[in-house]
Amino acid sequence: MRCRDVVELMTDYLEGALSARDRERFEEHIAGCDGCRAYLEQLRLTLKAVSRLADEAIPEPVQAQLTEAFRTWTSTAR
């Protein structure tokens, strides 16, 4: 495997979608290649940062309004 090909397999690797044989070859390459190891680490840190986009608090008025709607549903719907 060449670095150029390895970088294109990173998602399949992280998704567990490589065949056992490809996975082995991938891991062998990574173990011996500083560049691809750094690239994989960059990808992992990218994912970690991307996940932080979810940290956005619900605005208080929206929470109040939805809670009110939930309360109404609870008291009338059934």
Partner: protein
């Protein structure tokens, strides 16, 4: 709280459980809505409408998917119909960009590799970047715009998988795409965001 008990709590009218849920899922659902409608206020609206729909449909939710998957589907429906309404405002180029979605080809600039296919210059390690820079406000802004620049079909996949943290099976069901297709889109999306971060962090 497990999925089943979560749903039971909601059906019992457990308000604390409901508040916990909307607090926990607000961020992910807002990002999801923004994968379809770029305007923050419109996205807020979409999420709120989706919750109101969900509340009205609680009795019909059968729990065959996770609650998060279910509400994600409702957000996607609302967001898509909102986008359709506003699509007459879209520019011609932004409509064309959808066609790029499944294009193949390398995700890393070929000039970074030599003729033997090995790195010419190694990617740098990010291990030494302090946490508050890596996930700092400016970095997150950078990521948001990188995601916004993606073709819409890549954008929805990366947001569902990496922001809302749904699993591959749930995303395949929601979008009606094959596992392979999803991986291709996810790969291209992640590679594009990584590249943008690499330029920013350099």
């Amino acid at each position: 709280m497990g999925e089943g008990s979560e749903l039971d709590a909601l059906r019992r009218g457990d308000e604390a459980a409901f508040v916990d849920l909307i607090q926990r899922l607000h961020g992910p659902m807002l990002r999801l809505a923004m994968a379809y409608v770029a305007d923050h206020h419109v996205a807020e609206d979409v999420v709120q409408e989706a919750w109101l729909t969900a509340i009205r449909s609680l009795d019909r939710f059968e729990g065959r998917s996770s609650f998060k998957t279910w509400i994600s589907g409702i957000v996607i429906n609302h967001a898509r119909s909102r986008r359709r309404k506003e699509s007459r405002f879209l520019t011609f180029t932004s409509l064309l960009r959808g066609d790029e979605a499944d294009r193949r080809g390398p995700t890393v600039d070929p000039s970074r590799f030599g003729r033997d296919g090995a790195w010419r210059e190694l990617p740098t390690t990010w291990q030494n970047i302090p946490e508050d820079r890596l996930i700092g406000a400016e970095t997150l802004d950078r990521i948001r715009s990188a995601i916004q620049d993606l073709p819409p079909k890549h954008r929805e996949v990366i947001v569902l998988r990496d922001v809302a943290q749904l699993d591959a099976a749930a995303v395949g069901d929601l979008l009606g795409i094959s596992a392979e297709n999803q991986r291709v889109r996810l790969h291209r999306a992640r590679a594009a965001v990584r590249k943008s971060l690499e330029e920013y962090l350099a």
